[in-house]
Amino acid sequence: MLKLLFFARLREDLNCHEETLPLPDGIATVGELRDHLCQRGDNWQKALHSTGLFVAVEQQVVDWETPLSGSEEVAFFPPVTGG
């Protein structure tokens, strides 16, 4: 199972902090996972294409080409603003 996490503005816009999901058929990369999630509706489409969106796999920021095997922790979040 994939563990999906959403933080900050994304968490609010999607009304979802965490969910688990089996790797959908035909999805092999982080970018394809994003496209798949965007089909859930306009708020998903908008949130997952927001400016400066980050995606982390296993708590490490990666690019959209990164492959998924189906048992990772995948987090989506906006630009960070700590400090």
Binding site: L5, F7, A8, R9, G52, F54, A56, Q59, Q60, V61, A75, F77, P78, P79, V80, T81, G82, G83
Partner: protein, 150 residues
């Protein structure tokens, strides 16, 4: 030493711990980030700091390792608070000890610049106009990118 915590911290305690490392230390630089009562022209009454537990600590440890590869450092201590904060509250501490002041200054600023742009913290602020997520600043991105030039 890297801590992400709700409770406040004590500069003197952090400083004394850094200083105890011994008589080879010539310089200790500390940074404390404090909550301001204004942002983007509005009064800010409170701040809520969210973070990605687990990843935060990994990112900070990675930044410290990069700093230690780049400069001659004795010790580094980082504390970042999360949860609800109010104006004048301490938010973040970075302390660096070294034999040489140049290394201590550079490493402390480097760590803050990368913490600001890489560590998964997010601020939501409560203003007179309501609640809003703080936007990332391009000046922070620029500050971090400076370090690539050397």
């Amino acid at each position: 030493m890297i801590l992400v915590q709700e409770q406040d911290f004590d500069l003197q305690h952090e400083y004394e711990t850094l200083r105890q490392d011994g008589p080879g230390i010539g310089a200790i630089v500390t940074f404390v980030g404090l909550m301001r009562d204004f942002n983007d022209g509005d009064n800010v009454k409170s701040l809520f700091l969210e973070h990605y537990a687990g990843m935060t600590e990994k990112v900070l440890a990675n930044i410290v390792n990069q700093a230690k590869e780049r400069w001659q450092l004795q010790a580094v201590r980082i504390i970042h608070r999360v949860g609800e904060l109010h104006p004048s509250d301490q938010i973040v501490f970075v302390g660096v000890s070294s034999a040489h002041r140049g290394d201590a200054f550079a490493a402390c600023e480097f760590i803050m610049d990368f913490l600001k742009t890489r560590a998964p913290f997010w601020k939501r602020e409560q203003t007179d106009q309501g609640s809003r997520w703080v936007d990332a600043r391009s000046s922070d991105t620029d500050a971090a990118q400076r370090w690539n030039k050397n």
